[in-house]
């Protein structure tokens, strides 16, 4: 049935290539954001989006190999390398949320008073409290490592420093079970907080900003890339319709919206 309807659709709306492959990180899918945005985009544009939620590393790899048309990711450093290497075009900010440093309510390292993430990490290291890292090359891990280096410590190889090598949900679960700390994006944390024995201890540090960008894969490098589709998706989520969907997402269920729509802002504006 799929192919039959697809031909009739393409005849009506006439996008040359209807399928758009969106490679994204698991956090956007796990939070449920894409379940709202993608169907709306499909309805509005006539494209069919194949959302592939994978690790950040794999998403970027798929972009590098031309196996995706458009990326929605949150690992600024890796993204910049990706752009510099010429695999992406048209990188735009979509939204942001924040990372939290979370841990057990008892807060054995006493980081609640630390103020900044770096200070909190120093306390964790000093008290040798358990810290669970994603360790999966995700944007979250990249950010975590940046914080460690800002804090001036290197936790790798320490017995209290665990690398889960898993997604945010699983990592939070491990941290909860082990009574340890971890760094999490607020969207994932808020959606699963009820099942966890973790509280948010450090937030609102500007360094903990978590920006999401949309990047179109360079069709000059990979001619098979659906350039028009990628642009259409990027346009949609950075323009009014998409932005309002993002801004409203999660607001009813949680005390705060999970994402802040940022289209058009520049990196520096966010901080």
């Amino acid at each position: 049935g799929g192919t039959a309807s697809s031909t009739s659709h393409s005849a009506a709306r006439a996008p040359a290539q209807r399928v758009v492959i969106l490679a994204t990180t698991t956090s956007t899918q796990d939070s449920g954001l894409l379940d709202v945005v993608v169907p709306a985009f499909e309805k509005a544009s006539g494209y069919r989006v194949k959302t592939v939620a994978v690790g950040t590393g794999q998403a970027l790899k798929m972009g590098r190999q031309g196996n995706a048309d458009v990326l929605l990711v949150h690992a600024p450093a890796s993204e910049e390398t990706f752009m510099e290497d010429g695999y992406g075009v048209d990188r735009r900010i979509v939204a942001h949320n924040y990372f939290y440093v979370v841990g057990p309510a008892s807060d054995p390292a006493g980081i609640k008073s630390a103020g900044t993430a770096a200070a909190a990490f120093r306390k964790i290291a000093a008290s040798r409290s358990t810290f669970v890292s994603r360790g999966d090359g995700s944007g979250t891990e990249t950010k975590e490592l940046a914080i460690w280096s800002k804090a001036g410590t290197s936790p790798k190889g320490r017995s209290w420093y665990l690398q889960s090598g898993q997604g945010m949900g699983a990592t939070l679960q491990i941290a909860s079970e082990k009574g340890g700390y971890t760094l999490t994006d607020n969207a994932t944390f808020l959606t699963s907080a009820s099942k966890l024995e973790l509280t948010s201890l450090v937030e609102k540090d500007p360094f903990l900003l978590n920006p999401y960008h949309v990047i179109s894969v360079n069709s000059a490098k990979w001619p098979k890339v659906n350039k028009a589709g990628a642009k259409a998706f990027a346009d949609y989520i950075t323009q009014s319709k998409g932005q309002s969907l993002i801004a409203g997402f999660g607001g009813d269920e949680y005390d705060q919206p999970l994402f802040v729509a940022d289209a058009g802002k520049s990196e520096t504006e966010l901080k």
């Binding site: 939620a53 196996n67 949900g169």
Partner: protein, 214 residues
């Protein structure tokens, strides 16, 4: 609710098709392996049995390499379609069915083959009756093959993409729910999956016992 029905049907369809194809490949090859006596048979058997240990995600990766746009079959546009999942699951289930079928048929009395041929059975008739005689093992092989694909997630994720409404099957939906911390929903989906498997097994077991009252 609609979603659930669609996911369930897709799971069933994809796994069923993959199992059927694996059966079509594995049963003849397994039969041949069981009945032939060439030198390196042990080696081939080991390779096949090793295939049972192929991690689904690796099967998925291999198929993805094939089907990705950058791969040799990229132009077919099969990646992130149910067909891609079927392909990967065939890779997973075939060694299971092949290996177990070879074992089951290999356990038959070798003289049975002679007796059948002596009754005038053609090659295919002979094989058909050997299958009948080994049906207990072959049904177990079928069930193990089906079980291996209906329950696998790595390949379905990798080449299917777990795309809602398109390639989301029960297992990938379960993993998604688990990732979201929605354990209740995950367990419910698992319940559906197991109920399905039970239904199919029940029908097959019943058919097999009916034919073989002690």
């Amino acid at each position: 609710m609609d979603d659930l029905v669609q996911i369930t049907l897709l799971s069933l369809g994809v796994s069923g098709l993959a199992t059927a194809i694996s059966l079509l490949i594995g049963l003849p090859l397994g039969t041949w392996l069981a009945l032939s006596t060439f030198r390196s048979r042990g080696l081939v058997l080991s390779v096949v049995n090793t295939g049972m240990a192929l991690p689904p995600v690796v099967a998925g990766l291999a198929v993805a390499f094939l089907l990705w746009r950058s791969g040799p079959l990229g132009d077919l546009g099969l990646i992130y379609t149910p067909s891609a999942i079927v392909l990967a699951e065939v890779v997973i289930a075939t060694p299971v069915i092949l290996g177990l079928a070879a074992a089951g048929i290999g356990q038959l009395d070798p003289r049975l083959q002679l007796q059948l041929q002596g009754l005038g059975a053609s090659r295919w008739q002979t094989i058909w009756w050997l299958w009948r005689e080994a049906r207990l093992s072959l049904l177990a092989a079928l069930m193990a093959g089906f079980g291996s694909v209906i329950s696998e997630v790595g390949a379905a994720m990798m080449v299917g993409g777990n795309i809602s409404g398109q390639t989301r099957v029960l297992t990938t939906a379960i993993v998604l729910d688990v990732g979201r911390g929605e354990f209740g929903s995950a367990v419910a989906l698992a319940g559906i999956l197991l109920a399905l498997a039970f239904l199919i097994n029940g029908v097959l077991t019943w058919a097999q016992l009916r034919k073989r009252q002690h």
